[in-house]
């Protein structure tokens, strides 16, 4: 396949994929895109931007570039507006521009460069038409070379961007839609870990906007500000000026405003800027100027009011018939924000260079607003979830008393089982163990059994660890039966132990119960006896035997009475407690239905005021008796103490010998082989004896055995298994989230970093190349490089030297072009949705003539694109070079407006509009001029 055909196929595919345009080779149709073969070259006619591009293969270093250039120049001549052009051949959308695109074979690049350099040096023709080439390198085919170098003259990216509607642009600008697209399939990468998959799925569902809300009809497109007319009074050097822009007959119109220095171009520019945008680059500089005292910063008064005014006046701007009051941004931040908003609408003089010079953070703020909000949100969300799982784990650990450092699953299971077992009342009570260990010694008959049982309980407790370990093993392997068995066995052992303990306690009960009454009051007798023994050595008072006998007799009677009183008191107190419970717990409900009937005997107590009254009076009676018994007891106790003291003072033991013998018999088991008297004499041993007597009377409660230990073991094992599973999940969660966060971060970073080069950068660089007349001479390719995702920096670097800002590689003119390209990129992506105009103040200042002509061709194509798509726009250009202003007005068939110096202070600036195209002259369609039969008749 010939080079030309290869290129044709490539370019047709590009048009199709990017703009959905078909390439026709039939000249008879009114196709918007036509390919015409012409001997060894071809014409590509693109109606939308009015470009007739001659495609010329450069296959021999002897090929004369001049021939192609002259041919193209000749065609360009014939495409100029002509008189009396047939209406069918006229092109109302503007003049077509002509370009040449060489397809330079590999190995011939050097020759071509040399040849084109010669032509550019010798001839001014090279500026008349767009000269471009694809330089095929060794081993490359045409498509690869075009892909690498682009086809900037065709403005494919610019036109594709132009097709994007206002409501779709935010998505195009930001990486959100691509991130959303990625998120839809993101969980799939965790398909081997179902838990992670679920987490990722939940995350995506939480973050992704509802599809239903996406489908909601968009808001209406916001109205765009037109540019109809501006009237300026007392503004800088302008006394009065009025400029009309509106032309309802032209969809896209250029207004080229030319004037020598000092005629007010920049003042008009700023007036437009302030009126439409509320800010201006100069206003920002003023507000940012540290040399100006903040309180004196009144821009309108100190700067805009004419210096030459001899009468008080204030600046006025009337845009589209509405006077703009309070148009100024109040703070430098407002002014800065305003200038960002106005990017793509107003381009101030020399500001273009700042674009490439912008520092990374500032550039990122300027370009990346809302750029990766979804990526930020989803990662923030994932990180929050990851953090929450750590907290959840920590809380869970705390709740289950586990150490965060536990990493072995079996150890963790042991601790969990231990915790669960400890929650159960399965351990023998301390009182039982104490009773078994100590009190049993007072019961010689059960001593051995008690010791055995105590030892068995000890063993059983020690076996708990083994039980837990074996359970943990079962849980670790997920076998519930294995986990259950040791617990069931351990609980069975406990049941047996409980039975045996109960038997033992019963035996002790049978021993102690008969003695219980006898032991009542024994302690005070032992104290009296002990105290008497301790005082035997002291001097005794005189007394008669009769008196002593009387006292002893009284003591015995009193003691007897006290025993009776205690028994009565115990009965009455039991009765009182019964009545109290009855009153509180039973009677209220009973009395509702049977208020008069006694629940015990069934008697009707209606006559006595009902059962409640009966019980109440009974309770009162019992309480009275208790009080009287208590008082009597106290009185007798005091009397007894007096009598015992008196008897002791006579040297007589207050406990009779008979009673002493009874006590010895009664308390024999408690002191065994020891002497009771010696124990009583020593207060410590006496206290121990008393304690033993008390303890012997307090028999331990023995728990009921567990009816079905197997079932209980199963329940607990299941509970532990569930806990372990939960623990397993919680242990794995942070790791899973970490994995998700890492994957997400990687995916988002990849998308976010890739998105900018694929969208805004491609658009910007295409325009920059379209504005560059000899792009093959550019030192490098500039590219956006994003550093970091959160609070990113954006550097415009070059591919060859990573991290080094591009501003160090390009000269001032090139930097200017790139800044200007950014303006148009912003117009296509932002400005055009808000305003129907673009205003540029002297964008040609740093351009050589060839570059300026490229700029004019770009403006020509851009306006034509608007015209063809019926999108109204106005391009206002202030230029201070007459020749260039003429060039621009001619290329765009625009208005040519001349400003000249004000003749008088009170007159309007001298503004004249000149008609460059004579009436009756019209541009022609390229197909009319270029088709072979037309060429031959030239």
């Amino acid at each position: 396949m010939s080079t030309l055909n290869q290129f044709k196929d490539y370019v047709a595919a590009q048009y199709k994929s990017m703009l959905d345009l078909d390439l026709f080779e039939d000249t008879s149709t009114n196709a918007p895109l036509v390919w015409l073969n012409d001997e060894n070259s071809a014409w590509l006619l693109d109606d939308e931007i009015g470009l007739a591009m001659r495609i010329v293969p450069f296959t021999d270093e002897q090929d004369d570039l001049n021939t192609a250039i002259q041919h193209a120049i000749r065609t360009a001549s014939h495409l100029q507006p002509r008189y009396a052009v047939d209406e069918n051949d006229a092109d109302n959308n503007g003049i077509w521009q002509v370009g040449i695109f060489w397809l330079v074979d590999s190995g011939l690049c050097k020759s071509w460069r040399k040849a084109i350099a010669g032509i550019r040096r010798e001839s001014g023709f090279s500026e008349e038409i767009g000269l471009d080439a694809v330089l095929v390198e060794e081993g490359e085919n045409i498509s690869d070379a075009c892909e690498r170098q682009g086809l900037p003259q065709l403005m494919l990216h610019a036109r594709k961007t132009f097709q994007i509607k206002w409501d779709a642009m935010p998505n195009w600008l930001s990486a959100n839609s691509k991130v959303a697209e990625m998120l839809k399939t993101f969980p799939n990468q965790f398909s081997s870990d179902i838990e992670a998959y679920k987490l990722a799925q939940e995350l995506v569902e939480d973050v992704l906007p509802d599809e239903a809300s996406d489908a909601a009809p968009p808001d209406a497109e916001p109205g765009k500000e037109p540019l109809k007319e501006i009237e300026i009074k007392n503004f800088r050097n302008i006394k009065y000026c009025k400029l009309a822009f509106w032309n309802p007959d032209k969809t896209a119109q250029a207004h080229v405003i030319f004037g020598p220095n000092g005629t007010g171009k920049t003042s008009i520019f700023e007036a437009l800027y302030l009126a439409s945008g509320g800010t201006s680059n100069t206003l920002f500089d003023y507000l940012d100027d540290l040399d100006i005292e903040a309180r004196k910063r009144d821009y309108a008064v100190t700067v805009l009011t004419p210096l030459s005014s001899d009468v008080p006046c204030k600046p006025e701007i009337i845009l589209n018939g509405s006077e703009k009051h309070g148009y100024q941004a109040a703070t430098k931040e407002d002014a800065k924000t305003g200038t960002f908003e106005m990017e793509g609408t107003f381009q101030a003089q020399e500001d273009t260079r700042n674009f490439l010079g912008e520092k990374g953070l500032s550039l990122a703020q300027r370009i990346l607003k809302n750029y990766s909000t979804l990526a930020d949100e989803v990662i923030k969300h994932a990180e929050a979830r990851a953090f929450a799982t750590k907290s959840e784990k920590s809380e869970w650990l705390k709740a289950h008393g586990l150490n965060a450092a536990i990493s072995v699953r079996e150890t963790r299971a042991k601790r969990l089982i231990e915790g669960e077992i400890r929650k159960e009342p399965w351990q023998p009570s301390q009182s039982l163990m104490d009773w078994l260990g100590k009190t049993s010694q007072f019961f010689p008959d059960i001593l051995n059994d008690a010791e055995r049982i105590s030892l068995r309980w000890k063993n059983w407790r020690e076996n708990e660890d083994d039980c837990i370990s074996r359970m943990a093993q079962g849980i670790s392997i997920g076998e519930i039966s294995v986990a259950r068995q040791p617990l069931a066995s351990w609980l069975s052992t406990r049941n047996k132990l409980l039975e045996d303990t109960r038997t033992l306690v019963n035996r002790a009960t049978s021993f102690i119960e008969p003695l219980r009454n006898k032991l009542q009051g024994v302690e005070s007798e032992l104290d009296a006896w002990g105290e008497w023994l301790a005082r035997q050595a002291t001097q005794l008072s005189d007394s008669t035997d009769t008196e002593q006998q009387q006292i002893i007799q009284q003591i015995e009677q009193t003691r007897q009475r006290l025993i009776e009183l205690r028994q009565l008191f115990a009965i009455e107190r039991k009765h009182s407690q019964h009545l109290e419970r009855l009153e509180k717990e039973f009677l209220p409900d009973w009395a509702k239905t049977k208020p008069d009937i006694c629940p015990t005997c069934g008697d009707d107590h209606h006559d006595r005021g009902g059962i409640a009254n009966v019980v109440e009076s009974l309770k009162a009676g019992v309480d009275n008796r208790l009080t009287s018994l208590e008082e009597e007891g106290k009185s007798l106790g005091a009397t007894l103490a007096e009598m015992e003291a008196k008897l002791a003072s006579f040297g007589v033991c207050p406990v009779s010998e008979k009673r002493q013998a009874e006590l010895r018999d009664l308390l024999g088991p408690f002191f065994r082989d020891a002497s009771l008297q010696s124990m009583l004499t020593d207060r410590v041993t006496r206290a121990s004896l008393k304690s033993g007597i008390q303890a012997a009377q307090r028999l331990p409660e023995v728990q009921e055995p567990i009816p079905e230990p197997d079932d209980i073991a199963m329940q607990l094992a299941e509970r532990c298994m569930a806990l372990d599973n939960e623990a397993e999940r919680l242990w794995a969660l942070p790791e899973r989230w970490a994995k998700i966060v890492k994957a997400l971060d990687g995916e988002c970073r990849r998308i976010v970093e890739k998105h900018l080069p694929e969208t805004l950068q491609k658009l910007w660089w295409e325009i920059a190349l379209a504005l560059t007349p000899a792009r093959w001479n550019l030192a490098a390719t500039a590219a956006f490089q994003m550093k970091g995702r959160t609070a990113p920096k954006l550097i415009i670097g070059i591919e060859e030297r990573n991290d080094t800002p591009a501003r160090y590689f390009f000269n001032q003119a090139e930097r200017h072009i790139m800044g200007l390209a950014w303006f148009f990129a912003r117009y296509l992506t932002h400005g055009r949705f808000h305003r129907e105009f673009m205003v540029l103040d002297d964008p040609a200042q740093e351009m050589d003539q060839t570059t300026f002509r490229s700029f004019a061709r770009f403006a020509q194509a851009l306006l034509r694109l608007h015209s063809k798509q019926k999108v109204p726009t106005q391009l206002v250009l202030f230029l201070h070079q007459e020749e260039r202003a003429l060039d621009m007005a001619r290329a765009t068939l625009g208005r040519f407006i001349m400003l000249s110096w004000q003749q008088k202070n009170d007159s309007m600036n001298d503004i004249r509009e000149m008609m460059l195209i004579t009436e009756g002259f019209k541009p022609q369609t390229a197909i009319h001029v270029i088709k072979p039969q037309a060429v031959t008749t030239l």
Binding site: I69, E128, E882, F896, M915
Partner: protein, 317 residues
């Protein structure tokens, strides 16, 4: 190749180039050199017998090739009242130019008495140049104007080489000012050259005695410039259908070549449409065809408006 087939062959300035010597040697080998009318003139302030850097002798060698010696062929310039080399060659060019124009007028004179008259008038003017006349405006006319005019016509597609077959403008890289288009071979149709005959004769006056003119041909190559009145006249080819504008390729190098900022104020710009006719016929441009062509290339806003450009005729000159 026979030199005598060409009316005049002027080569180099010192004839040092090897290829010239090789060419002459080849012709000599054919045995045709100096056999008929071939003659050699070496125009140089000095006789240069040797060329030390290359070791070649050239003036001697050339003379030997033609069988003459220094006395027969050397004309020393810039000495003893002789003209300078530049003046000599300008004079030679003027005579040559007049002769070519005369021949083309003569070639068209069959059945056309007017052309015959013009041929005679040109011949008379040529006779006014028996020797270099450095102050005569015709020298500058042929040196600065005619070369540019021919290039303009050629670029505009107005030059017919063979009848009805115009020279395609893109055949010759005419936008480069050093490229010179010959003033015609015998059998070619040169309407571009015919069209300037009335201009020359008009400026020469009747009788053709005006050796001075108010028009400056050197300041704006290809145009006539009256510095006193600030009037710039731009002759344009107006034949072969003047509904077709003058091509950008033709007129652009012309206008680019004018360094406007250093020429002083231009008050008036006129187009002088020329036709290949013996008697000048004024051409109207009611539809602004020609004026629009020029206006679209003008670098000042005033003359960018077709209405501000005038149409001149020879009577106005």
């Amino acid at each position: 190749m026979v030199f005598s087939d060409s009316p005049l062959t002027a080569v180099g300035w010192s004839a040092e180039e090897e290829y010239i010597h090789d060419e002459i040697a080849a012709v000599k080998q054919q045995g045709t050199l100096a056999t008929t009318n071939d003659c050699l003139s070496i125009i140089d302030p000095n006789w240069k017998p040797d060329n030390p850097p290359t070791g070649n002798t050239h003036h001697n060698k050339l003379a030997a090739a033609f069988g003459v010696n220094q006395a027969d062929c050397h004309f020393p310039t810039s000495c003893a009242g002789n003209p300078t080399t530049d003046q000599f060659f300008q004079w030679l060019q003027t005579r040559y130019g007049l002769e070519r124009l005369e021949q083309f007028a003569q070639a068209n004179s069959q059945g056309n008495a007017a052309w015959s008259t013009k041929a005679t008038e040109l011949s008379n003017i040529k006779d006014q140049f028996p020797e270099p006349m450095p102050t005569d405006w015709l020298n500058v006319f042929f040196d600065d104007f005619l070369a540019v005019w021919v290039r303009l016509c050629c670029n505009a597609g107005k030059v017919v080489y063979i009848k009805n077959v115009p020279i395609q403008p893109d055949i010759i890289a005419t936008h480069r000012r050093d490229d010179h288009i010959p003033w015609g071979y015998e059998n070619s149709i040169r309407e571009d050259l015919l069209a300037v005959i009335p201009l020359i004769l008009s400026l020469r006056g009747t009788p053709p005695a005006n050796t001075t003119t108010k028009w400056n041909f050197g300041e704006f190559p290809g145009a006539l410039w009256d510095e006193i009145s600030g009037h710039l006249v731009l002759p344009l080819p107006a034949w072969h259908g003047n509904n077709i504008p003058i091509e950008l390729a033709a007129i652009k190098p012309l206008i680019d070549g004018w360094n406007w900022s250093h020429k002083g104020m231009i008050y008036k710009v006129s187009i002088l449409p020329l036709l290949p006719q013996p008697n000048h016929t004024p051409v109207n441009d009611d539809n602004f065809i020609l004026r629009s062509s020029v206006a679209q290339l003008m670098k000042s806003s005033r003359f960018s408006i077709p209405n501000n450009i005038g149409i001149a005729s020879l009577a106005d000159m």
